[in-house]
């Protein structure tokens, strides 16, 4: 795990230094706010010891290749609960953004993992917090490998860690690899936002319909250190969250694609997608078959990119976006695939930014 972290940081810092020289923040002229995911390192620290500066440093590190594009961050302590210290931390930062006018002309929020859930909660509370919508205007959200629907790994972690009973060697390995340390015997309160990431809790949190569009990017890859975790997660997963969460599915389901008509490898065939649709105004746009949970903002290859939407209707003409379609096999073994025309040697984050910048 530490080796992975080192590689992650090294590659991130290198790319950040290269990109930062000539990359301007903003996308489509709007500021970018990054909301990070679970910081497992926080769980190893005593509660109340994290400073805002440290949270920000951790957030920049997690933003990875996106960091040069980010104008500001919303950070939180992963060792705290969403309704508790985290909401106070988030509220304070939103008030600062409101006062500074950072989002007065509109902002795009980019979230990773748990940032999906934190952002959903935050957006549902803006009116309750008396945030001036003309000073803090969110135009859209991009959720990468979102944990808005929770992760079954959090179920396993909370049950195992609070009981001090690791269930099995495989569960111990998976949880220790994910959290980066042995937290056995921890009280539930110490496990902070992990309690909020349990699917039963996440799926009753901030359920109001939102008028803010959210695009979802999901992965189906595994990283070596976490290849044991998938057995605990419903359906296809990226090592930490299942597609039911990353795609924005309305219910926790055992699904293998964000779509019912295209599979995560791009094959055009009936797929085990969500039976009951997605959260209101949440739109999955991409699946990356080989993208693991921690790889969206790194240089690691993510494999094929598969677009969700079949076609676009322009001026009465239905067309398909530039994608590559190919077939393999023949006769009964013939399979047709449709994938995004993407050079897999380019880091995904770099590609994404270059496309929408």
């Amino acid at each position: 795990m530490k080796v992975l972290s080192m590689l992650f940081v090294t590659s991130t810092l290198f790319l950040a230094s290269v990109l930062s020289t000539d990359v301007e923040a903003k996308i489509a002229g709007k500021n970018i706010i990054f909301v990070h995911g679970l910081q497992t390192s926080h769980l190893l620290q005593a509660r109340g010891t994290l400073t805002a500066a440290q949270r920000r440093t951790d957030a920049i590190e997690q933003a990875g290749i996106f960091a040069p594009k980010v104008d500001d961050y919303i950070t939180y302590s992963s060792t705290e609960r969403l309704q508790g210290v985290i909401q106070q931390e988030v509220y304070n930062q939103v008030k600062q953004l409101e006062a500074a006018g950072t989002c007065a002309q509109g902002c795009l929020l980019v979230t990773a993992s748990t940032g999906d859930l934190v952002t959903r909660y935050m957006l549902s509370r803006l009116n309750a917090w008396n945030i001036d919508s003309s000073r803090f205007r969110v135009l859209g959200v991009v959720d990468m490998v979102g944990a808005g629907g929770g992760s079954e790994l959090a179920d396993v972690a909370v049950s195992a860690l609070t009981s001090g009973n690791f269930l099995s060697a495989i569960a111990r390995s998976a949880i220790t690899a994910w959290l980066g340390g042995d937290l056995s015997g921890s009280a539930p309160s110490f496990l902070g936002v992990l309690n909020d990431l349990r699917p039963t809790v996440a799926r009753v949190t901030a359920t109001s319909n939102s008028s803010i569009p959210r695009v979802k990017i999901a992965g189906g890859g595994q990283i070596v250190a976490l290849n044991l975790t998938g057995g605990f997660i419903s359906g296809t997963d990226d090592g930490v969250v299942g597609l039911h969460s990353a795609c924005g599915a309305r219910y926790k389901e055992s699904i293998d694609s964000c779509s019912n008509s295209i599979r995560i490898d791009g094959r055009l065939a009936s797929a085990n997608g969500p039976s009951w649709g997605f959260y209101h105004n949440q739109f999955p746009i991409l699946m990356a078959e080989d993208m693991a949970h921690t790889q969206a903002a790194t240089t690691n290859p993510v494999g094929r990119l598969v677009a969700m939407n079949k076609g676009i209707n322009l001026g009465g003409v239905n067309i398909n976006p530039a994608e590559r379609q190919f077939t393999t096999g023949s006769w009964f073994w013939k399979k047709t695939f449709r994938i995004v025309n993407y050079n897999e040697s380019i880091p995904f984050a770099t590609y994404l930014v270059s496309q929408i910048d």
Partner: protein, 389 residues
């Protein structure tokens, strides 16, 4: 024999045809295959002209070549535009699962496999659940444990024990819970909260279970739930509904016990058929005493759902948002869980104006700009304004 020969010829022809056809498809951009199947949309004009031009001529120019992600954002803009025909607090839900009443043991369920190792393809699974997620003081908490997978022969020797744990008033709490076997793979428990000393069940609690197997293994499982000492408010009634422009206004009357910011989520059913029609949501501040939250059903949501009423309004959930210093929202109770009668009106008595929210339009413009669209002036088409749900 003749039939088989004919069949072979037909299949052979089909194979040759499909091989030829798929060869044409292989390894080339799909975009060049512009088709004119659907002719119904209000999508961006400039790019459309370009596409139509390339469609009428030889389609050499691919408008999305090199900007595939932009195309995805354009599509999201399209889908978002469709959704935004309705206010977020008034959405047709015909056929949607979330419009159905929540089944017992559906919401508060934790289902976990316990593989022995990587090769354990049929591990024992524990599905532990509570009848519901949110309880009030005085209610009985019904818990269920289902065992599946693994060796079925072992089930009869499984023992289940449990406790309710958490932190209340700054100290750890623990309350032992007894489970009884009701089936070969099912255990149940009832916690009578009236018999539990005050403070023994925290506002946010875990039902912690231990299952002892014959081989000496013990499996741990926890189920989170919320326990409210008292409700924050009670939904008392629906006052007379009325039309206002393009909306059916439905005032929801509360008896508020704690001042604060409230949310309500509800489903409007057809009173005659029971068919779920529209999801209605609202939020707002209420003070102690008599309170009101106003639900607003848009005419287009009602029309698309296909019922002018009368209706039954089912309150699915309502709660007071926890303040910044609090750690939980506090649920409200509902005086009539089966619903409240709501008078409807013929559709022609409403103003038939589309809902347009300026902030939504700005978001559409933004998505289209990411998608590479140049923005055009949008004419004023509606009296709609930003709805607080």
């Amino acid at each position: 024999m003749g039939v088989l020969l004919c069949l072979a010829i037909i299949v052979g022809c089909w194979y040759i045809f499909t091989s030829w056809y798929s060869h044409g498809d292989s390894n080339q951009s799909v975009t060049s295959k512009v088709n004119k199947e659907v002719a119904k949309d209000n999508a961006p004009v400039q790019l459309a002209k370009k596409v139509q031009k390339s469609a009428s001529e030889e389609p050499e120019e691919d408008p999305f070549l090199g900007r595939e992600m932009q195309a995805q954002f354009l599509q999201v803009a399209d889908l978002y535009k469709q959704n935004s025909r309705y206010p977020v607090g008034s959405i047709p839900v015909v056929g949607e699962r979330f419009a159905q009443p929540i089944e017992p043991f559906e919401q508060a369920e934790v289902d976990t496999p316990y593989p022995l190792d990587e090769d354990d393809t049929d591990p024992i699974r524990i599905s532990a659940s509570l009848e519901k997620m949110e309880y009030f003081a005085g209610e009985s908490i019904l818990a269920r444990v289902l065992v599946s997978g693994g060796e079925v022969d072992e089930y009869s020797r499984i023992e289940v024990s449990g406790s309710v744990m958490g932190v209340s008033n700054g100290r750890d709490t623990g309350l032992n819970v007894n489970f009884e076997r009701v089936n070969f793979n099912e255990f149940r428990s009832v916690i009578d909260t009236q018999a539990v000393p005050s403070g023994q069940i925290p506002r946010e609690a875990l039902l912690a279970l231990t299952l002892k197997l014959e081989d000496g293994r013990s499996l741990a499982q926890t189920v989170p739930f919320f326990y409210n000492g008292a409700a924050s408010a009670r939904v008392e009634n629906v006052l007379n509904s009325r039309q206002d422009g393009a909306f059916l206004i439905i005032p929801l009357q509360y008896n508020v016990f704690e001042s604060g910011y409230y949310f309500v989520d509800s489903i409007l059913d057809d009173a005659v058929t029971g068919q779920p029609l529209v999801q209605l949501q609202a939020e707002g501040r209420m003070q102690i005493g008599n309170g009101l939250l106003t639900l607003k059903a848009h005419i287009h949501a009602l029309m698309d759902a296909g019922s002018p009423g009368p209706y039954t309004l089912r309150v699915v959930s309502s709660f007071r948002a926890g303040t910044l210093s609090e750690t939980r929202d506090v649920a409200a109770t509902v005086s009539r869980p089966l619903g409240y009668y709501v008078e409807g009106a013929p559709f022609d008595q409403y103003e038939d104006t589309p809902f347009v929210d300026p902030e939504v339009q700005e978001r559409i413009d933004f998505l289209e700009e990411i998608g590479g669209e140049e923005q055009e002036e949008v004419p004023e088409t509606s009296q709609g304004s930003e709805e607080k749900l």
